[in-house]
Assembly symmetry: C2
Homo-oligomer: 332 residues x 2
């Protein structure tokens, strides 16, 4: 009997740690915009720069999640990296509107409480996603816009930047080209695809099982002054609820608003019983396609499943889970 | 045989007109806000004024629908009447924000095309619902905000009004009372219920079978400058799609945004197979109640069924169908 007990001990011991402490589940997915992004139009240098920035953004969120931090903090950290990079159309590097100004939109949502914060049409805050977070945490409101949002950001001590900080030559050139196209009555098809897209976003599941989503954007080149897209609209470009999923979208914002895309994906999981993958895929590939709307989403559910469907040539994207394996992709 | 044929003719004839020309189906429902509206707090004079204004708004939409006009036109016409009345918190009579200014939000959505238009935080347009309609009809955008939206309204020739036009003494008093309450650290419960509510909206089905929804509001008294509520957010306070329903909401806007209420009702009809009545009732009475959110919705489906659930003491509301019978109600 003693021998049997000893044998049992020998065989049981190696597997005990995993019984006592189940492997943590967490995950993070990010996007940096979708569009006509093909190998043919991308230099190796540019590709490397995007891959490095996406990896840095993923890493900022991953470190927090691995240490037991919240999905909200991870989402904000990943987005801040992309807002600070001039490569993406959010924060620094934002697209210019028809008046040659930048107007930034952002939103964040907490899947545990379904609380949310958003800002639209703000011009001077370095990190709109952090101002959106403060709207959620420190006001009774969900969305602040324009001057009122600026005043709130200043009162909260957020970093204020000059027009020069946000200025990037390629976005300016994009505006000039687009305005020339319109002056010369050249067809919409000659508009650079790049002008229509560009948004950054993140979705995460933390070790406590809570989901969060965030999105930040400069909108698109030559948009009307005051135009608000889907990114800061809860249910359209940004949505999170623990009983369904967390979603951040990128693409033709007006179409995403009309179809209430992020909440649509959650609703199909809740009421049609679809998996995250099927709900996200069908919404992007069929529902959006049916109204000629290009773009994609990133989504994660409470079990850490990730879906990143897009109906364009490419989408800057990345994901990482508890295994610590970083996956960064650009093309289809 | 001749006699039988004659008899058949006699019995068939009276029902023939309804076979050749089926009775038209159309309908309109409106609301003027929900809250602690009880008989005890309402004078006969005030009640009569509200009933008259609601009837006038219903009639403006009804006339158009009866003549074969579109649900979009009927929704806009009904809302314009309520925006122009100082009784309702929309257009003239709007609530003041913390800075003593009015900032107006509105949205309209076409159930046939699922196109939509919205404005937020505008200060001078007499009829925000008409500016929202113009955003839908004359731009590629869904939402314009603040200065950009103002500039668009002026460029489109919309009537611009002074601060004095929008000013109503009772709203101003409501602001002063609320600010005094906060200065004296008196509890939220002493805040007048009236300050938290007030929005106008309309939903309609026209003879062509098309649905539309619209909502317009001044938000609530002492809101932060730049605060945007659910009214102009497609999916939250306003939504229409022919395959489901048209919805306009009123209540604690932030909660309606977090639950994406209008699109939630449509989703439960689409994916859970609920009737309009059950989907609207459960969302307002259970889902909103669960997060302590007060308010209500008006909703109509493609068969002309109307639902108007609210979880408050009262909701200014009215409906009329093809029978021409006007129903105007205030209390539970």
């Amino acid at each position: 009997m003693r021998c049997n007990a000893l044998l049992a001990l020998i065989f049981v011991l190696p597997s005990m740690p995993s019984v006592a402490q189940p492997a943590p589940i967490f995950g993070l997915a990010i996007h940096g915009g979708a569009g006509t992004i093909t190998r043919a139009t991308m230099s190796e240098e540019k590709e490397n720069a995007y891959r490095a920035a996406l990896t840095e953004a993923l890493n900022a969120g991953y470190k927090l999640l691995k240490a037991g931090g919240s999905s909200l903090d991870a989402v904000a950290a990943a987005i801040v990296v992309m807002e600070d990079s001039p490569l993406f159309n959010a924060g620094r590097g934002a697209a210019f509107n028809a008046g040659g100004q930048i107007e930034l939109d952002a939103a964040i949502m907490d899947g545990r409480t379904q609380k949310a914060g958003a800002v639209s049409a703000i011009r001077t805050a370095k990190n709109p996603i952090l101002v959106a977070r403060a709207v959620m945490d420190r006001t009774g409101h969900v969305m602040l816009t324009a001057e009122g949002a600026e005043a709130f950001a200043r009162a909260q001590g957020f970093e204020v930047m000059s027009h020069e900080y946000f200025f990037t030559p390629n976005r300016w050139e994009s505006l000039k080209k687009e305005q020339e196209r319109i002056r010369n009555n050249r067809p919409e098809s000659e508009s650079t695809e790049e002008r229509k897209h560009g948004t950054v976003g993140a979705v995460a599941l933390d070790q406590a099982g809570n989901l969060a989503a965030g999105t930040s954007t400069g909108g698109y080149t030559n948009k009307m002054a005051g135009r608000v897209g889907d990114s800061p609209v809860i249910g359209a470009g940004t949505y999170a609820a623990n009983d369904a999923c967390a979603v951040s979208a990128t693409g033709h914002g007006e179409s995403f608003m009309r179809l209430v895309v992020a909440h649509e994906i959650a609703s199909r999981m809740r009421y049609s019983g679809l998996s995250l993958k099927d709900a996200a895929h069908d919404t992007v590939m069929n529902k959006l396609k049916a109204i000629d709307a290009s773009g994609g989403v990133i989504a994660i559910d409470a079990r850490g499943n990730v879906a990143m469907p897009f109906n364009t040539e490419g989408m800057y994207r990345g994901q990482v889970g508890a295994d610590g394996e970083f996956k960064v992709e650009i093309y289809r």
